[in-house]
């Protein structure tokens, strides 16, 4: 990214205010690129989620609009775009209008620090994970605004629940992230990835048992931050009609949903960055500037995308399997289980930084790393095997055509 900006600055060097103009143009370009990516991802994820949800329920998802229903999200977006803008009569109009943008800004701001590959990040903020944590808190303001300004008691309930949930779960998320920061030595997201390796046993998730626990704590906390089942009480369909977005329709409603689905990317990307080795390609050392750099950028981006999409699938999968927790169970889980676990993990991980580079302790550590890796991948394999026995138990056949 540095070279691109330098080229642009060089071209505009003769223009008055050239450097500022170059900076502004570059900023705009990057922002538009990220926005385009975010919009496309949010849209395509709705399609993927609906297809996966359909197959998990023994039915087909959307399959009429476009091949295998791929254009359904465009059709839905266009429909919402053309809808009448309804604002309730007694609603607080300025707040009602502003709320979707705050929620959207909270999500979009997080994209500024997320890495996409080697050298591919909108900005290499040194405060990395702290910046992301801080800027995603902006959605709390948006949700409270939406709940309050709708002039609807159900929305208010949903908004207040949502605010409580997001604020509470920032703590365990931060603690788990701190465990990783202790291991990596820097909160810079690209730095955290560079401190890991490409092979699974070099990932922070399998580095020591405390980091593994921190991985689960972080996963659950991010699910809660993103208002996804099993923590989707603020928008619980069966209880609160639609929670804080009940009164929203048309384009404003789409903004909320847009932010929610784009948040899946943020969730998955953060998990992959912090715990699963980010864009590190297994078996390849980091290149020097020069030969093979483009290939490396592409390879690292591909690895990152694959890992992130796997976790996006996990988020969708968990949504369509688990029921939701009640609000007091949710906050109890946060404060009584995840926060103590987060502290324990932080202390434990910090202690594991002291493991020396060679010697008996190092050998023990290697064994622990391989053991945890085996356990992790064994869990995934166990899930697949159990799925196979489930199918065989009902005397059905495995059916692999996903494009029906």
């Amino acid at each position: 990214m540095k070279t691109g900006f330098d080229n642009l600055a060089a071209r505009l060097a003769n223009v008055p205010w050239g450097e500022t103009l170059a900076a502004a143009l570059w900023l705009l370009l990057v922002a538009v690129a990220v926005l385009a990516f975010m919009a496309t991802f949010a849209g395509v994820t709705t399609w993927v989620e609906r297809r996966i949800a359909g197959r998990m329920m023994s039915r087909i998802g959307p399959n009429r609009v476009g091949p295998a229903g791929f254009l359904q999200w465009l059709a839905d977006g266009l429909k919402c775009f053309l809808k009448e803008d309804v604002i309730p009569d007694a609603a607080d109009r300025p707040l009602f209008r502003m709320a979707p943008y705050l929620v959207f800004a909270g999500c979009f701001g997080a994209f500024a620090a997320l890495p996409f590959g080697y050298g591919l990040a909108a900005s290499g903020i040194d405060a990395g994970i702290f910046y992301v944590s801080a800027v995603t808190s902006l959605v709390v303001v948006g949700i409270l605004m939406a709940g309050w300004s709708s002039n609807n008691k159900w929305s208010l309930l949903g908004g207040v629940r949502g605010a409580a949930q997001i604020i509470s779960y920032e703590i365990p998320a931060g603690l788990a992230a701190l465990s990783v920061v202790a291991l990596a030595g820097t909160p810079n997201l690209q730095g955290i990835i560079q401190a890991q390796g490409g092979w699974p046993w070099q990932w922070f998730a399998f580095h020591n048992p405390f980091a593994s626990i921190a991985f689960f704590v972080f996963l659950a906390s991010l699910l809660a931050e993103g208002n996804r089942t099993p923590f989707d009480l603020p928008e619980a369909e069966s209880e609160l009609v639609a929670g804080y977005v009940t009164e929203y329709s048309g384009m404003r409603f789409l903004f909320f949903l847009f932010a929610e689905w784009a948040n899946i990317w943020v969730m998955a990307a953060l998990i992959v960055t912090l715990f699963l080795g980010g864009w590190q390609v297994p078996g390849a050392a980091l290149p020097d500037a020069g030969t093979g750099r483009t290939f490396w950028i592409l390879a690292s981006a591909a690895v990152f995308f694959m890992k992130t999409l796997t976790f996006a699938f996990l988020v969708v999968w968990v949504r369509w399997t688990l029921p939701r927790l009640r609000v007091d169970q949710l906050t109890d889980l946060c404060w009584k289980v995840f926060v103590p676990a987060g502290f324990v993990c932080l202390i434990g991980s910090s202690a594991c930084v002291l493991i020396p580079g060679q010697g008996a302790w190092h050998a023990v550590h290697r064994v622990v790393q391989w053991g945890l890796t085996a356990a992790g991948f064994g869990l995934a394999a166990g899930l697949l095997w159990r799925a196979r026995t489930n199918i065989k138990n009902l005397n059905e056949r495995i059916y692999l055509k996903v494009w029906t």
Binding site: M57, P230, L233, R324, R326, D328
Partner: protein, 387 residues
């Protein structure tokens, strides 16, 4: 790990005083995704805790009891389907039993067996919907769709039995409207074989899920005395620990010839009478219904499927109360006849209506999210409440 609910029933607590500044009045319904029909619960909340819950019914009143006064007896059978369309066979059976008792009509044995098969299959699919909607109210949409998929298979069977998938109109005075086609018993047994394998998978998906259990355990505990005094029946009553089942305690039809357990609450996790007990009682009743259907199909006697009955029966003047163990509880028909070919007065006693009366007693003290779980576990359907 997830918060365990303490088992304090609101009956033991003193009545909460609602201060006007803190409490909010909110309407749950009549249009609400989880009230299972058009029912209005007017809630007074303090924060998330319910202080007062006031059910308002009548949105689905169709005047069925009044229609009985102007419709001839046989013509009223389709109307009985609509009293509880999810468990329509029981409604048919109650009405037919009432008129048969009044008119002294004997039902042939094969017809009784066919009735039992139809009713127990209907109980099975009703519980599938009930357990599925309980899961859906708690946020798990997938088990509901799986339950509906199995229900569709039984709907196909019902289509072969009587021609309709929802409003069966299967029974007539003195028997049933048509006999089984050859090969239908094989279809029923095939379905039962598959269902036996489906239910453990359904339990693995949702009934054993720790989050689901923690949402239901010790929520909405209905003590045994309260259940009896409010006239609850069926799974609601048995989950509170009272071992009473009309099929066994007040036998009717050919139920004494079958072997089946009657599951009661108290042996599941949590207290007897909580929502989880009601849910598990329904799951276990599904297994028992499958057993009864299997015994009935394998032991189906030969004979007539309909007794010789006049086309328009005119039972002598008198009154009768006929009760059946419906999927939801006790369904009773109190019929007063004046000797003509129409009823003089019909009163239908449904257990969803009685279940609604429990809500203002048990709801105060629980949270809104708990109310959803509790209401779902009571298995209330709006048409039965309002008729």
């Amino acid at each position: 790990m997830i918060q365990e609910n303490t088992s304090k029933t609101s009956v033991d607590q003193p009545a909460a005083q609602a201060s006007n500044e803190d409490s909010t009045l909110i309407h749950m319904g009549p249009q609400h995704p989880s009230t299972h029909g058009v029912i209005n619960l007017t809630l007074t909340l303090e924060g998330e805790i319910i202080v007062k819950a006031d059910p308002r019914v009548g949105y689905l009143h169709r005047g069925i009891e009044k229609l009985a006064e102007i419709t001839p007896y046989t013509g009223f059978i389709p109307f009985t389907d609509r009293i509880d369309y999810l468990a329509a066979m029981f409604c048919n059976q109650g009405w037919c039993m009432a008129v048969e008792r009044l008119a002294g009509i004997q039902v042939p044995r094969r017809a009784e067996y066919l009735r039992v098969i139809a009713c127990e299959l209907n109980r099975l699919i009703n519980h599938l919907i009930s357990c599925g909607t309980t899961a859906m109210d708690l946020g798990a949409f997938t088990p509901f769709l799986h339950a509906i998929r199995e229900r569709e298979k039984v709907n196909d069977l019902m289509e072969k039995i009587c021609g309709s998938r929802l409003n069966y109109t299967f029974m007539r005075f003195g028997g049933v409207c048509r006999d089984f086609a050859p090969g239908l018993d094989r279809d029923i047994l095939d379905f039962l074989d598959r269902f036996e394998k489906f239910l453990p998978e359904f339990n693995r998906l949702i009934s054993g899920n720790e989050i689901f259990i923690r949402r239901l355990v010790n929520v909405g505990v209905i003590p045994a005395g309260l259940a009896v005094s409010h006239g609850l029946g069926g799974p609601n009553l048995r989950a509170s620990g009272i071992d009473f089942d009309l099929r066994r305690n007040r036998p009717y039809s050919v139920y004494p010839e079958f072997q089946f357990r009657v599951p009661t609450g108290g042996s599941y996790r949590g207290e007897a009478g909580d929502s989880f007990a009601r849910y598990r009682v329904r799951i276990d009743e599904m297994v028992e219904s499958a057993r009864i259907v299997r015994q009935a199909v394998e032991g189906l006697p030969e004979g007539e499927f309909l007794a010789k009955v006049p086309r328009n029966p005119a039972p002598p003047a008198g009154e009768v109360y006929a009760r059946v163990e419906s999927a939801r509880g006790e369904l009773g028909y109190y019929l007063v006849s004046d000797g003509s070919d129409r009823a003089f007065r019909l009163k239908i006693r449904t257990s969803s209506f009685c279940a609604m009366t429990v809500i203002p007693v048990v709801a105060p003290g629980m949270m809104v999210a708990d109310l959803t779980a509790f209401f779902g576990s009571l298995d209330v359907v709006a048409p039965e409440v309002d008729r």
